[in-house]
């Protein structure tokens, strides 16, 4: 098991990435691994970018430097590209897991900008990071029983990488305890996400 991990989560307001980050932090701390989770919250409205850093294994800086993330967990594909490109968050030795389901920002509907060609961009990114993994987490959440379980799909996906510096069971336990009323759906979503990435990693094309 690695000793440390720097995760950068990016998504759109309302997708539950803050909760995902908190559960990661709690699972680590309960396993005796130092955790630091930094969030920027402010606006109650929906639709803005939400960035969170989760630093596991004894870091002090609450934010990530450029090229510092060992793992990018992107809840929305345009935001994955933002993290990889202009925000320069991801290490060339880093892993990327991204949801492929786009959420078009208002600037695109107002024709103030164009949504990027994802196929092309992803093909370009692929060779420049250690692992590039994608899944339609939005559809998988739906399949698990609720679009709100998107964050659990993403955590499941992350858990399949074997990059976590604490036992995966600790995270599963947090997910189960998090919202007892939705535990069944959440655990199903977690398992579906986990299996999707495990399969991708087992396929010979992934390397």
């Amino acid at each position: 098991m690695p000793e440390r991990l720097k995760v950068y989560l990016i998504g759109v307001g309302g997708q539950g990435s803050l909760t995902a980050a908190r559960l990661l932090g709690e699972a680590a701390l309960r396993s005796g691994v130092e955790a630091l989770v930094s969030e920027v919250h402010g606006m109650a409205q929906r639709g803005g970018i939400v960035e969170t850093a989760v630093l596991l294994g004894g870091y002090r800086s609450p934010i990530l430097g450029r090229g510092a993330a060992d793992l990018l967990l992107a809840f929305e594909p345009l935001e994955a590209l933002r993290a990889l490109g202009p925000l320069k968050k991801v290490s060339p030795k880093g892993w990327v897991i991204t949801n492929t389901h786009p959420i078009r920002p208002i600037t695109v509907s107002l024709r103030l900008g164009r949504y990027p060609d994802l196929e092309r961009a992803f093909a370009e990114v692929k060779g420049h990071v250690k692992q590039f993994l994608k899944l339609d987490a939005t559809a998988l959440a739906q399949e698990a029983g609720s679009p709100l379980a998107l964050n659990m799909v993403m955590l499941g996906a992350l858990s399949a990488t074997e990059l976590l510096p604490f036992p995966v069971a600790a995270l599963e336990e947090r997910i189960e305890a998090f919202a007892p009323r939705f535990a069944e759906v959440n655990l199903r979503a977690w398992r579906i996400g986990r299996e999707a990435i495990a399969r991708a990693l087992a396929a010979p094309a992934a390397s």
Binding site: H41, G42, A44, Y59, R60, S61, K88, V90
Partner: protein, 558 residues
């Protein structure tokens, strides 16, 4: 029960910096807490609000920061430990009262928390409130992380009592909004918590007319001398490492970046660090000793060169030869929050090391589209703007829209584009008067319900009395939405239970506004008709439309 309260002594829990402050204060025997919400301070008040019943403390969301501070001051004079929390610009609102509290001093511990917002993640400026400590003469504590935020909140009360001065606890977004493992201590039993005291009269100390104020200023300076002595031995001020090549003086979250940078660069052995947690009054002896022990010094502090200037002055006074680096070194500037790269580049520069900037792993051929936050689907503010836009028709272009702070400020963005000017909370109504007097354009002021109570009322009175002519639209969504759905005086409940409402319509009428309309913006046709009528009336005198419909997050449970 909030998480910050659940756990028992000795346990480590993942706490937000703001929750850690609430926990520290509660452990210290806090009896009285007030706030006006504002990012990044809001969770301090919200956590205390949810703890009020179990702990027995008095808690309120006050109408604004000035009133909140005045309440807390009075409580502390009754012998009850008190805390007031606000965002950095909130201290501007409370500044008049704050300045005087340093003269009158306190009896029980009084802690004023200011949460600053370097980089302006959710604020109109990035003012450095450490200047308030210098301006007012307040002892200042600056935590670097949630664990220290907890410890400082707890230690601030006895410190305040010992010095008989309010203590300013200053956090920043990255401290307030980071979660980290915090080891908590025991909470006092409810019966041991002092929530009521007694006010012992002493008018020649507490009524600061000029003849009283003069000796009080002298007393303040004496108290600050004692405070400096406390800073010299404070456990929050310490030296780390023994390297002599470079001495880094740092405070707040910058300390965390320094620690990681030293590890990254592998130079821990060459450097020593003076971490100042109680940074005002400056522990001059400690700083002088430190400066005397190193070849070069680098000051790493976000925003203003507050420590840097003090260090330069001290070095000049003591004729120290040490070369002092600060703003302008590497990535260090007065702008925006620091990060690991900015701090590492400065340390590398002073040590003559190469620090390479990593290339992005991917470069976009085109600029990626921005993603600004937008009003929620079904937001009543959008409906209000839309109805008003219809009522204005062709006049839209010529109208000046003086807006204010809240979710509704997003009316700035196209396609609504209904915001032309904003300064601070409450500025819409005041500036509308100015715009209407100094131009012949039509003027409309937008103000939220919470913002109206906070800072709009004097400006309304002013507009009526001075016969300004404009339309005020009160965007009444029955909550303080932007900062997390806190209640306000217009509602039938407060943080801790039912409360008498102060209805906005009678308030406006009481201020002398003769035309006060109430509409539900979701009823578009009716709302447009009312706006049309009100626009006509506002050509003759200040006129108000209360556009009332609850925020959609209220029904969805946030």
């Amino acid at each position: 029960m909030p998480r910050a309260l659940k756990e028992k002594k000795g346990e480590r829990l993942l706490l937000l910096g703001n929750e850690a402050i609430a926990r520290g204060a509660l452990e210290a025997g806090l009896g009285f807490a007030t706030t006006y919400p504002g990012t990044p301070a809001s969770e301090i008040g919200d956590t205390l609000a949810r703890s009020a019943r179990e702990t027995g403390i008095y808690f309120e969301y006050s109408v604004n920061e000035k009133v909140a501070l005045e309440l807390a001051t009075a409580a502390a004079l009754c012998g009850v430990r008190a805390l007031v929390a606000m965002k950095h610009v909130g201290l501007n609102v409370a500044a008049d009262a704050f300045m005087s509290t340093l003269y009158t001093g306190t009896r029980a511990g009084l802690v004023v928390v200011t949460a600053d917002d370097p980089s302006m993640h959710s604020s109109q400026n990035e003012q450095d409130n450490r200047y308030y400590a210098l301006l007012a003469g307040a002892p200042l504590l600056e935590p670097a992380d949630p664990q220290e935020a907890y410890a400082m909140a707890k230690a601030a009360f006895p410190l305040s009592e010992e010095l008989e001065l309010p203590v300013l606890l200053r956090t920043t977004t990255r401290v307030s909004h980071s979660r980290a493992g915090v080891e908590v201590g025991p909470l006092p039993a409810p019966e041991d918590r002092k929530v009521k005291g007694r006010f012992h009269k002493d008018p020649f100390r507490f009524v600061i007319v000029p003849s009283v104020a003069r000796p009080l200023h002298k007393l303040l300076l004496e108290r600050l001398e004692r405070a400096e002595a406390r800073a010299e031995e404070s456990p929050f001020n310490f030296v780390l490492g023994e390297g002599e090549e470079l001495g880094i003086v740092t405070s707040g979250v910058s300390y965390s970046y320094v620690r990681d940078a030293l590890e990254d660069l592998g130079v821990e052995g060459r450097v020593s660090v003076l971490k100042l947690g109680m940074s005002h009054p400056l522990p001059r002896k400690l700083v002088a000793r430190f400066l005397g022990s190193v070849e070069r010094a680098l000051v790493v502090e976000e925003l203003e060169p507050v420590l840097e200037r003090s260090l330069r002055a001290l070095a000049q006074e003591l004729e120290l030869k040490v070369k002092i680096y600060g703003k302008g070194t590497g990535g260090l500037s007065r702008l925006y929050e620091y990060d690991p790269d900015r701090v590492r580049s400065a340390i590398a520069e002073v040590l003559g090391l190469r620090d390479s900037e990593p290339e992005p792993v991917w470069t976009s051929p085109d600029r990626l589209p921005d993603r600004p936050p937008v009003l929620c689907p079904g937001c009543p503010h959008r409906a209000s703007y839309y109805a008003l836009k219809l009522a204005l028709g062709a006049e839209f272009e010529k109208t000046i829209f003086a807006t204010d702070i809240g979710c509704y400020t997003l009316g700035l963005l196209p396609p609504l584009a209904m915001a032309d000017h904003l300064l601070c909370m409450g500025s819409s109504v005041g500036t509308a008067g100015g715009f209407s007097r100094a131009s012949d354009q039509r003027v409309i002021a937008f103000i939220g319900d919470s913002t109206l109570f906070h800072a709009g009322i004097p400006a309304i009175v002013n507009a009526v009395h001075n016969r300004h002519k404009f339309l005020v639209v009160v965007l009444d969504n029955r909550t303080t939405a932007m900062t997390g759905l806190q209640p306000h005086p217009g509602l039938e409940f407060c943080a801790t239970g039912p409360a008498p409402a102060v209805p906005i319509e009678t308030l406006l009428q009481g201020c002398g506004v003769r035309h006060v309309h109430i509409v539900d913006p979701v009823d578009l046709q009716k709302a447009t008709a009312v706006f049309e009528e009100a626009l006509k009336e506002s050509e003759e005198e200040v006129t108000a439309v209360i556009s009332r419909h609850p925020c959609v997050l209220l029904s969805s449970g946030g």
